[in-house]
């Protein structure tokens, strides 16, 4: 039993180093933004090793329809280096936290020329083997409403109205029944004080139009007559 366990742990330890060399990088898939607004492109990674002091983040940009990409951001040795010559000069800001494996950047004052693919590459020495991850940026003049939102809104509103109608109906019934009951109890109390047996016919209900109220009134009248 112990030998089996020892063998298994040795095998696992042999497999894990293979896996631990791969770093996985996460960015969004697609981002939508309005012209003139700012957008935060997030990038984080997962690595089996502890976050080293030599961790690096690199962002490159490839315009839509072009095959070349240019580098717009690089973080290394504890220093962030932003684009100072290219299309994003003075518009890129580092808002990430390398200690928390976050290498996000903020791009300010977007324009239609910024449509394209942004690729984040992170390295955590000795974990350097990994696949860079890309996020596609789409800049709109007016944000389009997504496909299913309006449909879902209509469905939600109709169902909500139905639930509201049911709740109001039961609430009305409950309130009216309570009001009638309390009124009839007070009337019964008054009559007992006078000690009379004048009321033989049906007593006037609180709301003559509500048939149910009259029915419950009658029931209570009959139960009171039975008690008498």
């Amino acid at each position: 039993m112990l030998t089996v366990l020892a063998l298994a742990s040795v095998v696992l330890l042999g497999i894990v180093p293979e896996q631990s060399q791969a770093i996985t990088i996460y960015t969004g898939w697609e981002r939508h933004a309005l012209v003139g607004s700012d957008i935060r492109l997030s990038c984080s990674f997962f690595s089996w090793r502890w976050t080293s002091d030599d961790v690096t983040f690199s962002w490159t940009y490839r315009p839509d329809g072009s095959r070349d990409s240019i580098s717009i951001f690089h973080y290394t040795g504890g220093e962030a280096y932003v684009d100072n010559k290219g299309p994003f000069r003075d518009r890129v800001e580092f808002v990430g936290n390398p200690g928390r494996r976050d290498g996000s950047i903020l791009i300010k004052n977007l324009d239609f020329n910024d449509n394209g693919t942004f690729t984040c590459d992170a390295k955590n020495p000795p974990d350097i083997v990994g696949r860079p991850s890309s996020v596609r940026l789409l800049v709109f003049e007016k944000l389009p409403i997504q496909a299913g939102v309006i449909t879902g809104a209509i469905i939600g509103v109709v169902l909500g109205l139905l639930v509201l109608i049911v709740v109001i109906y039961y609430l009305m019934r409950f309130l009216v029944a309570r009001r009638v009951f309390s009124l009839s109890v007070s009337k019964h109390g008054k009559k007992k004080k006078e000690g009379s047996q004048q009321r033989q016919g049906p007593a006037p209900p609180a709301d003559p139009s509500k048939v149910k109220a009259a029915a419950s009134e009658k029931k209570k009248q009959e139960s009171r007559k039975d008690k008498k």
Binding site: I150, T151, I154, I155
Partner: protein
């Protein structure tokens, strides 16, 4: 009594199935190479069926499309709720009473699928020469008839 109950139940389930197929399956309008609907469009390109988005334009009004989507989904939902309410009312309704609430809900479902099918008939594919209405469209209209019939039965039937 039991036979009638079984028949009504089967009718309701059939109506629900027809509504679901009409809503979910993308086949309101078909041609040789295309099968399109309220959610997306299947196009046969190079022998392979691909699922693409519906076109946006004046001949495909977006607001009417969303109305058709919403009302057909609501029809399915209301028919489901009517079935549950019918089963509940079977046990809780006092004798001699009618299944009014289930009938009302089923009638609502009938109304909604009628709205969906009518809007689709009136606003989409009015000038197209190629193609014909697909099975989802036909089932939507059949479901309208079935739900109406089922609702009438609920409203007329008395519990024994």
């Amino acid at each position: 009594m039991l036979a009638i109950l079984g028949g009504i139940f089967v009718l309701h389930i059939a109506a629900i199935i027809l509504l679901l197929v009409a809503t979910i399956d993308n086949a309101w309008w078909v041609t040789d190479t295309m099968s399109t609907d309220i959610w997306g469009r299947w196009m046969k390109m190079g022998g392979v069926w691909n699922f693409t988005d519906l076109p946006t334009g004046s001949h495909y009004p977006q607001d009417y499309l969303q109305a058709v989507q919403a009302t057909s989904v609501l029809a399915c939902i209301f028919s489901f709720i009517a079935l549950f309410v019918f089963i509940i009312q079977l046990f809780t309704l006092p004798k001699g009473q009618k299944f009014i609430i289930s009938g009302a809900l089923q009638l609502l479902a009938c109304l909604f699928i009628m709205i969906a099918a009518s809007i689709y008939t009136d606003r989409f594919h009015i000038n197209e020469t190629d193609g014909s209405y697909g099975h989802s469209f036909i089932l939507a209209w059949i479901a309208f008839g079935l739900t109406f019939f089922s609702a009438i039965i609920y409203i007329v039937l008395r519990k024994k």
